[in-house]
Subunit: 311 residues, 2 copies
Amino acid sequence: MNPKDDKRTASCSSTVFVHNPYLDGLKDDILYHFGLGTGTHDLPAMFGDVKFVCVGGSPRRMKAFTEYIAAELGMEDPKSEYPNICAGTDRYAMYKVGPVLSVSHGMGMPSIAIMLHELIKLLHHAHCTDVTVIRVGTSGGIGLEPGTVVVTKQSMDATFQPKFEQVILGKTVVHDTDLDQSLAEELLQCGKELNQFETVIGNTMCTLDFYEGQARLDGAFCSYTEEDKKDYLKKASEAGICNIEIESSVFAAMCKLSGLRAAVVCVALLDRLKGDQLSSSHEVLSGYQKHPQILVAHYIKKQLKAKAVCS
Amino acid sequence: MNPKDDKRTASCSSTVFVHNPYLDGLKDDILYHFGLGTGTHDLPAMFGDVKFVCVGGSPRRMKAFTEYIAAELGMEDPKSEYPNICAGTDRYAMYKVGPVLSVSHGMGMPSIAIMLHELIKLLHHAHCTDVTVIRVGTSGGIGLEPGTVVVTKQSMDATFQPKFEQVILGKTVVHDTDLDQSLAEELLQCGKELNQFETVIGNTMCTLDFYEGQARLDGAFCSYTEEDKKDYLKKASEAGICNIEIESSVFAAMCKLSGLRAAVVCVALLDRLKGDQLSSSHEVLSGYQKHPQILVAHYIKKQLKAKAVCS
C-alpha cells in the first residue's frame, strides 16, 4: 500500500483527519500511552460527543481544570469524582466532563507530540466532529506583567521563524505553525469581557529546552553572558514575541495537519527581562495558572450557549 | 561577569560540575520543577550521601525501582513507605533509599534535559562526589527478542551520527554523546552473571518523536511506505544500532559535560522489524520493564559490597 494511493480527502471540514493509510489495516489500534485501544474500549461511546479538548503540561492542573469547568457548566459530579480515564498508565492523565476533554501532555515537544498522535487517532476512531483544541499552559513573558495571558498569534522557533522542523527517516521536514486566527480573536475578546487580568495577542517562541534554549542564566550550564541574553530577548521582542514556552509549535503543526481548530493560551509566570527564577510564592503562581483556565472556560460556556440558542 | 573569567576547573575528578558562573550570584537557587531549593531545603543533609542516581520516564516505574532496590540492599522501610521527595510538584517524582536516588524524567529530550539541569545543580549544591547516573528505560529493539536489555555503547541521532544538537540563543551547538565505556562493560558483565535475560551492548538511536521520528506505521500521520520504514531500520542496524528511544543523547551529553559517570540501560519492548504496536499483555510488558532494574540493582549491590570490603 502506498500513501499516495490514499484517496481520503476533506469531504467535510469538521472531521478529524488522520493521514495514515496503514491505520485501516490494523485489527486493533492500541493507544499505548493512553492505556486505551479500539479492541478494548468503545471509543465512539466514550468520546463521540467531545467538542473541546483542553491540554496542558501538568496532570494536576488538568484535573483542577476539569473540576472548574464542571462547576462553570453546571455539570458537577455531586461526589466531585472525576476519574482519570488513563489510570492504566502514568504517561498522561485524561478527564472528561460533558463535551470537554482535558488531557495532560508533559513537558516539551516530543512529549506533547506523542499525546497528539494518540489524541488525533482517538478523535478519529470516536468519529468526533467540529472539535476545538486549546493548549492552556504556562510560559515566560517578555516585557509583560506576571499573570498576563498571551493568546498566540503565531508560534515561532528559536530563530524567530514560524516553522516546526521534524525529522522523518533521518530527513528534515518543515511544517508551518499557523493557528486559527478567528479563534485567537474570540479568545482575546473573552479576556476583555472577563476583565479579570490582562490578555494580549502575540507571537510565542517555542524552544527545545527550558534553560539554555531560553537564554536563562540559572541552569547547570551557561555559556553566554547576561548581555547576550538581553540581546537575544530584545531581538525576540522585536519579532513580535510576547512569551516563550516549549510545546506550541508542534501543537500548531499537528492540529493544522489534522484539521483541528486550535489555539494556545498561556499565562506569563514571570518577566524574563527582569529575571529567570520562578521565585513568586506557590500561591501567587497557582493563581496565575488559573488565568488561562478562566479564559477558556468562559469561551467554552459562550460557545455552548450560542449552540443551545441555535438548535 | 563573563563566563570566560570562571576559574573553577577540575580539581578533583569526582566532583559534579556545573558550568555556570552566574549560579554563585543567586541568593537562593530554586529547582522549580523539583519543588526544592537552596533557600528552603538543606540539600547537603538530604542528598550529600547520594552515589547512584537512577532515572526513567515513568514515575510509577521509578517508585517500583525504589521499593525493589531497598529490598535488594536490605534497606526496606518496614512500613514500605517511600515518600516522593518532589511531592510539591507533579512534574517529576523522586525517591531515595540510602545512597540511591531515583528520579522520573517524563518523555523526550526537553523533559529529561530540564530534569538533568536541576539534578546536576542539586548534586552540586549537596556537595555530592563520585556519582554514577544510569538511565533505566524502555525502547524499541531492532532484530532483538522482546525483553532483551541493551546497554548503550554510543547514542546516535536519526542520521546515525553520535551527536546531540542543541539550540542556544538561536544557534546550533553540537555535543558528543560519549558514555562511560568501562561502566557499560561492567553492566554487560552483570547481565552475564545474572543470566536471567539476554543482555547486549550496542548503539542506541535517540529520536525527537516516537511515531514518525522512529518510522512507525501506526501514528496519526505516516507519509512513507512500509518499504521506506524497512530500509531505514536496516540502515540503522548496519550502523550498529540495536534499539531506539527518545532521551539518551541529551542524557549522555549533559552527564559528560558535568563529569558524571553515566550509562543507558533499556529493555527492548518489541522488535521493530516485526511491528510497531505494543500489543503484548500488560503483564508481559511489566515483566520486561523490570529487566533493567534487576540489572542495575545487581550492579549497585556489587559496587557497595566492593566498597565495604575496601574501607
